[in-house]
């Protein structure tokens, strides 16, 4: 036994356990919403059982002990000696949260059992075997922490993200008595006031939060500050633990784990991925890959056969072989890419729970509808899209949907509907979060923007412009601040995260009818299908997905407008012509519009016509970052290497359309 190093299996155990917990949670939520399917109970039981078994095998005795109690309770349900009651489901859901936290701590080598888990274990045991058990359950070490010591040092850019320690401390105050043990100016602060940039933060604090506060609640306050501060939270060292030894009252923590449950696992996965995360791949995808590989080997041997003793008569066969090679390579590439693709359902799955908890906390009624869970996204994109989505969902429920009474008064159903939808559109994955709530509060946003000096007083704004305001850094209509959202951290972070992924986020809102947030994400970050065009001696690649049509214009179709711009008539509208040679400064290019070719491109429903010399063909381009090798260039999203070894630039459609529209407006 000792010869086997069990630690090598730990990672698998953690992964499987997390999946088990996800399954448990989903089944619990199904039971909660009234399902009577007995199989659900079995699912929950099995998950608990295998976590217990694994934990015991790998020596995580605290996890095993905890799960054991939960399991015995579940066994009673399974054998129908106990009814499925709301209290039980609640307790089990909290156990799921608790186990997640315990597993996260085990995987990072921290002590596993803490005050929360022991208190919860006490509750489980009490439920399992009657009230009498309480006294024996709570072992001395089981005392909940009396508080937390928090060391919080702001990084310079903290304030620029819209986070203000003041607000964070206020939130902490809601949890318990907050004592600032020490506030200090960090060493990197400029020595002279003259050198201080007021928007940079150079303060740090040692705080103590008194009271039996769950760790998760503390973490929730600092949620979204990842990378904006240095943070250390430790259970308070001294003070006698006896005073708070009784388990926390059932009602109080029940509402709170929600914010805690999400950030933590997310943060853990981030850690895991940085140390070389793993991915689970369906066997069908692997089989497809092996198939492709087989094809490739066949093609290769055929080609080398031709090459051995080549005669001109075999030219046709050579061509055929090359064609086949191209096809197989493309398919192989697609199969490889598909390995990284995971269904977005894995992200959506956390929402039923989030919604349920928010509903209870806010006293709202929400019906969650999920669509398109099978839409696949690149794993990297998927991992990073979770937090922004959580934020949008929280916002929608907190700010968007009204209280049942208000809804009734407005003639709507008391239960609000929150829809999450994912689908393909062009080369993008689109994720939509829509609610049938009150919509954006036009007046409040404008007032806030004026107060912040973003717009001048009395300035008239269109709905779209107002919607755009909420994406400004630090913008939050603080009047409606709650502990869920409205910390002033918000949509700008969402937009930043989405932009980091090469995507875009926008909002459409109708007063009284609701809002729709739309996130568009690229399918993959690495390869695009492009049209190679020639401009002078240069080659430019236009992403295929954004091309509407390409055409040759007759001279009379082109109109000059005041200011030197040129437009042409295209399907009921006039589009500006953007001369690529002029925009990018290419010599020896065709300047007569009727001799060149106009490629109509579209971004965000806006179109422009690009004038190029000629079209050379369609090609897949592996995107190389221009920024990494040179610097950012307006209108260019990257570069690629063509088959002849030369470099071609990839046209940034969004940027070019904006440029073109501006020159038309000018």
């Amino acid at each position: 036994m000792s010869a086997v190093d069990l630690t090598q299996f730990h990672k698998t155990f953690f992964e499987e356990s997390r999946e088990g917990l996800d399954a448990m949670e989903a089944a619990l939520l199904a039971l909660d919403s009234g399902s009577t399917d007995h199989e659900l109970v079995h699912t929950i039981f099995r998950a608990a059982h295998s976590i217990k078994g694994g934990a015991a095998t790998f020596g995580f005795s605290d996890v095993a002990a905890f799960t054991h109690v939960a399991e015995s309770l579940l066994e009673e349900v399974r054998s129908e000696r106990r009814a499925v009651e709301a209290e039980l489901i609640d307790l089990m859901l909290r156990s799921v949260d608790c186990l997640r936290a315990m597993l996260a701590r085990s995987s990072s080598g921290q002590p596993v059992a803490d005050a929360d888990s022991e208190a919860l274990r006490g509750e489980l045991m009490r439920l399992a075997s009657g009230e009498a058990a309480v006294a024996t359950v709570v072992a001395p070490k089981a005392a909940p922490a009396n508080g937390w010591d928090i060391r919080f040092v702001a990084l310079p850019h903290l304030l620029q993200t819209g986070n203000d320690p003041l607000r964070l401390f206020r939130e902490l105050q809601q949890l318990g008595r907050l004592e600032v043990r020490r506030a200090f100016v960090v060493d990197r602060a400029p020595a002279r006031l003259a050198d201080l940039d007021p928007s940079q933060c150079h303060l740090g604090w040692e705080l103590r939060l008194h009271g039996a506060v769950a760790r998760g609640d503390v973490d929730a306050v600092f949620d979204w500050l990842d990378g904006d501060c240095e943070l250390a939270v430790e259970a308070m060292a001294e003070e006698t633990p006896a005073a708070a030894a009784e388990p926390a009252p059932a009602g109080v923590p029940a509402a709170t784990p929600a914010p805690a449950a999400d950030p933590r696992p997310a943060r853990e996965t981030a850690v895991a991925s940085s140390e070389g995360g793993s991915i689970r791949v369906g066997i069908d995808k692997v089989d497809a890959l092996i198939n492709m590989m087989g094809e490739l080997v066949i093609t290769q041997s055929m080609l080398s056969d031709i090459g051995e003793n080549f005669q001109l008569s075999q030219l046709e066969r050579l061509r055929e072989g090359l064609l086949q090679l191209e096809r197989t390579t493309r398919e192989l590439q697609e199969s490889v890419m598909r390995i990284r693709m995971l269904p977005i359902g894995s992200v959506f799955n956390r929402f039923p729970r989030l919604v349920r908890d928010l509903e209870r906390k806010l006293g709202k009624q929400v019906k969650l509808e999920l669509h398109g869970e099978h839409t696949e996204l690149d794993k990297t994109v998927l991992e990073k899209i979770g937090d922004p989505l959580v934020h949008l969902v929280r916002n929608a429920i907190d700010h968007g949907l009204e209280m049942p009474a208000q809804r009734k008064a407005a003639g709507k159903a008391e239960t609000g509907t929150l829809k999450l939808n994912a689908y393909h559109e062009g080369g993008n994955i689109v994720v939509q979060i829509s609610d049938d709530g009150a919509g954006l509060n036009h007046a409040a946003i404008v007032a806030k923007a004026q107060q912040r000096g973003l717009i001048a007083a009395g300035q008239e704004l269109s709905d779209a412009e107002v919607a755009e305001l909420i994406f400004q850094p630090g913008f939050s209509t603080a009047a409606q601040a709650t502990d869920l959202s409205g910390r002033g951290v918000g949509m700008d972070v969402v937009r930043r995260n989405v932009r980091d992924l090469g995507g875009s986020v926008g909002v459409r809102s109708e007063s009284g009818k609701g809002s729709v947030f739309t996130i568009a994400l690229p399918l993959t970050l690495a390869i695009i299908d492009g049209l190679v065009t020639a401009v002078g001696h240069e080659r430019y690649i236009v992403p295929l997905t954004s091309i509407v049509e390409s055409l040759r214009l007759r001279p009379e179709a082109v109109r000059r407008i005041a200011g030197g711009g040129e437009v042409f008539h295209f399907r009921d509208e006039y589009l500006p012509i953007m001369r690529l040679h002029r925009a990018f400064g290419c010599a020896d290019a065709i300047t007569d519009i009727e001799r060149g070719i106009v490629v109509v491109i579209e971004d965000d429903n806006r179109r422009v016509g690009l004038l190029v010399d000629e079209l050379l063909g369609q090609q897949q381009a592996v995107i190389k970052s221009l920024e990494a090798h040179y610097r950012r260039v307006q209108g260019v999203s990257g570069a690629t290497i063509l088959s002849d070894g030369s470099v071609a630039l990839i046209v940034d459609v969004g940027g070019v359309v904006r440029l073109g529209r501006r020159s038309k407006a000018a």
Partner: protein
């Protein structure tokens, strides 16, 4: 926004502000957007006086950046041998400074004295 020496001798019975004391009145909205101006003003008085009197009685809104500015101002003022006096501080300012644990460093008077 009040100038440097705007309210020089409005004696509220607390501040024995000497004649050469520079007075800076903190603006009602003392948050990040106002701080470039405030910083310039503070820098101005830093060169001048040994005694700087801050009037925080009008502050209706404050943030961490504001308090940080004041803390760093006081630090530099002390380093130059100057002293900081308060002609009053609003409840908002006191609450914010208290919450951030900076009230003592800033030697803020309690609200209501203003």
């Amino acid at each position: 926004m009040a100038g440097k020496r705007a309210a020089k001798q409005k004696d509220d019975g607390r501040e024995p502000a000497a004649d050469d004391a520079a007075v800076v009145v903190l603006p009602p909205d003392c948050r990040l957007a106002a701080q470039a101006a405030l910083k310039a003003e503070l820098l101005g008085v830093l060169e001048k006086g040994a005694i700087v009197v801050l009037d925080g009685s009008q502050v209706e809104r404050a943030d961490t950046a504001a308090l940080q500015l004041l803390v760093l101002f006081r630090r530099e003022l002390q380093a130059c041998g100057g002293t900081l006096d308060w002609r009053g501080a609003s409840e908002t300012l006191n609450e914010a400074a208290g919450l951030l644990g900076l009230a003592q460093i800033l030697e803020l008077p309690a609200a209501g004295l203003a």
